[in-house]
Amino acid sequence: MSSTSLTAPNLIAAVLQFLLLLFLLRAFVYKPILAAMQKRRDTIAKQIHDADGLRSEADKLRHEAQELVNQARDEAKQILANARRESDEQAKKIVEQAQKEASYRQKAAIDEIEHERDQALASIRSQVADLVVFAAGKVIERNLNAEDQARYVDEVLKDVGQLQ
C-alpha cells in the first residue's frame, strides 16, 4: 500500500469523517453563529426603524414648537397694538374733559363777575338815592331860587341816569 493506492475503506472513512465534521459544525458552530448573526441583523433593523420613528416625532415636536412661538408673537403684537390704542383714547378723553372743565370754570367766573357787578350797581343806586335825598336837603337849606333849583335837579337826574 502506498499513497497512490485506492483503498475502498479509506474512501468511505474519508467521506464519513467529512460528514461527521459537517454534522458537528452545523450543530455546534454554524447554528449558534448564524443565529447570532440573524439576531444582530434584526437588532440593527429595529434600531434603524426606531431611529426613523424618533426623527419623525422630533420633526413633529419642532413644528409644533415653531407654531407656538409664532402664535405667541402674534398675540404679543396684538396686545401691544391694543394697549397703544387704549392709551391714545384715554389721553384724548382726558384732554376733552380738561377742556370741558376749563370752559365750565370760565363760564362760572363770568357769571360771578356779572353777579358782582349787578350787586355793585344796586348798592350804588341805593347810595345815589341817599345822596339825592341828602343833596336835596342841602339845596333846600341853601334856599335856592326857582331857576337854580330846576337846573340842579336836572343835573342830579342826569348824573343818576348816566349811572344806570
Binding site: S3, L6, T7, N10, A14, V15, F18
Partner: protein, 230 residues
C-alpha cells in the same frame, strides 16, 4: 496505482481525524461565546468565512440550495485547508517520517470527489426532477449521443477533482522532503534553508488554493446540475 476493497491505510485516517479535530476546535472557539452584539476574535473570523461563502455560493447556486450548500462548501474548504497544510508542518510520525497530509493519499481526495459526484447527481434529481435529470443526461446537447458526452464529462469531473488535489499536495510534500536531501555542508545548509523556505511558502499558498479550487468546482458543478436551464 493499485486498488483494494479491503486494505486500510491508517495514517490518512488518523491525520484526517486530526484535521477535522483542529477545524472543530477552531469552530468551537468561534461559537463558544457567540454573541449578537459586537463579535471578536474567532467568532469574527468564522462570521467572515460564513459570509464569504454565502456570497460565493449565492452567486452560483439556486436560491433554495444556497444556504445549505454554502455551509457544506465552507466545511469542505476548512477541512481541506487544514488537511493540506498538515503535511507541511514539522511534526514527526510514528514510522520515523514526517507527518503526511491525508490529502496526499489518493484515497481521501478520491473518496471526497466520489461523494461530491453523488451529491451533484442528487442535486440534479432534486431540483430538475428525476425525468429532467435523465433528460439532461441522455438528451443534452444531442439526443442519445448526449449520454456519451455527459458520461465523459460527469465522470472526468470527480476524477480530475481528486487527482488535481492529490497531485498538488503530494508533489508539495515530496519536493519539500527533497530539499532536506540537498548537499551537506555550509553551502548545503544555505541552499536547503533558502530553497526549503521558498518551497514551504509556495506550498502553503498551493495548499489553500487547491482547497479553494476543490470547493469552488464542487459548488459550480452542483449549481450547474441543479439549474433547470441545463
Amino acid at each position: 496505482m493499485n486498488f483494494s476493497l479491503t486494505a486500510f491505510q491508517w495514517p490518512p485516517f488518523w491525520t484526517g481525524l486530526i484535521s477535522i479535530g483542529l477545524v472543530l476546535l477552531f469552530g468551537l472557539a468561534a461559537a463558544r461565546r457567540a454573541t449578537a452584539s459586537v463579535p471578536s476574535g474567532a467568532q469574527n473570523m468564522m462570521e467572515t468565512a460564513i459570509e464569504t461563502f454565502q456570497d460565493l455560493v449565492g452567486q452560483m447556486a439556486p436560491e433554495a440550495l444556497a444556504p445549505n450548500l454554502s455551509l457544506l462548501a465552507l466545511t469542505l474548504f476548512l477541512m481541506l485547508v487544514v488537511a493540506n497544510i498538515l503535511g507541511l508542518l514539522p511534526l514527526p510520525w510514528f514510522n520515523g517520517d514526517w507527518i503526511h497530509s491525508p490529502t496526499a493519499f489518493l484515497s481521501i481526495p478520491a473518496g471526497l470527489a466520489a461523494w461530491m459526484f453523488l451529491l451533484i447527481q442528487w442535486a440534479g434529481i432534486k431540483y430538475k426532477g428525476f425525468g429532467g435529470w435523465v433528460y439532461g443526461w441522455v438528451w443534452k446537447p444531442f439526443p442519445v449521443i448526449g449520454l456519451v458526452i455527459n458520461a465523459l464529462e460527469q465522470l472526468v469531473m470527480p476524477v480530475s477533482l481528486a487527482f488535481r488535489l492529490f497531485g498538488n499536495i503530494l508533489a508539495g510534500e515530496l519536493v519539500l522532503r527533497m530539499t532536506t536531501h540537498l548537499p551537506h555542508g555550509i553551502g548545503g545548509v544555505i541552499t536547503t534553508f533558502g530553497i526549503g523556505t521558498l518551497w514551504l511558502v509556495f506550498s502553503f499558498v498551493i495548499s489553500m488554493i487547491q482547497a479553494l479550487i476543490f470547493t469552488i468546482l464542487t459548488v459550480a458543478y452542483m449549481s450547474i446540475q441543479a439549474n433547470k436551464d441545463h
